[in-house]
Symmetry: C3
Amino acid sequence: MPNYAIHLRTESSTAAARADLARRISAVHARATAAPPSFVQVIVHPIVGEHFIAGEPVDPRAVFVHGHIRAGRTAEAKHELIVGLRDAVVAALGVPDDLVWVYVSEIPAEQMVEFGRVLPAPGQEAEWQAALPDDVRDRLARLDAGIS
Amino acid sequence: MPNYAIHLRTESSTAAARADLARRISAVHARATAAPPSFVQVIVHPIVGEHFIAGEPVDPRAVFVHGHIRAGRTAEAKHELIVGLRDAVVAALGVPDDLVWVYVSEIPAEQMVEFGRVLPAPGQEAEWQAALPDDVRDRLARLDAGIS
Amino acid sequence: MPNYAIHLRTESSTAAARADLARRISAVHARATAAPPSFVQVIVHPIVGEHFIAGEPVDPRAVFVHGHIRAGRTAEAKHELIVGLRDAVVAALGVPDDLVWVYVSEIPAEQMVEFGRVLPAPGQEAEWQAALPDDVRDRLARLDAGIS
């Protein structure tokens, strides 16, 4: 139940590599947090304006991932998550790791709506999914089966 | 005194529908928090890159709203807010509710500048507005009158 | 070790003015927090969709800066930072201050990766830099020398 914004110059990667990145991010999130991959949203935001570090233009291969996850994960889970996100970028896009930035912000579950429903606290996903309309639950189940 | 980022594929809605959405969001925020609508900023961010859930492309009608509000609202106000934001998207854009995601993040008032001024704590808006330059205060008053 | 997102309509400023803004933001952040300017990332996000306050279109010169910094700064440092960011926008872009919005969100250092490495707590930057690979450390040193 996170959203990951990927900021990068799209001319430095292929659409296929970015789709691979999205799948890897879904898998990393699911592994670190034990949440189903069907909850992982990824939006690619092409950088089209200027991009600076210390006021100087940045290498066009640089990637900035900003995730927003439900609050309440353990420090270990969050560490596994940010390191795994960095490794996913390196593996999917072939970027040197020193060009990768990853931030993870937390939001209380009760301030998040996904699939039109206010989110459950971490650990109560099963009850939440059981209460979804049949068609939405089936859609999520198909997504989870596709990732596995 | 919030900012709402609306992420969507603009080809799935009209500019008029998005303007309607902005008005509805201003009204929902004002109703849930008792803050004046003139404080509500909405920026439409067209999704032009890839958009995935569970690593699979998402329905192009999907909408992700990410609000940043002043910290300190009650749980009831925040609940009314996120549910109202979801309903505003459904009403303005005609999107099925299971394609709507809404996140609300909080920021302490003293870490926010609007109209060039550091924000007051919730409840002290009137004093803050009274201290604005005349032309800015008049501009906000006209905006509030337009919304009503 | 922050990221600053600058949201504006690029037709209202020149690329040179935005580069000046990025340098000013790096300097403001370094002065307010005592962190090296080489840690300051700025991404310009052109506003290409609609932009509203109170449901009405906004002056096209309006600028919204959203920073994400490491948690743990003093109230004084954060105040100097947001006021300095506002002043940087006014000075670099020639925008009236009442068209400037600035938000600063905080993230715990251990939820941030920059240059491929999980960040240190504020105050432990020197040890962190010392542990970087030689080429990355040299790159940052050159950036810091360029800013002064």
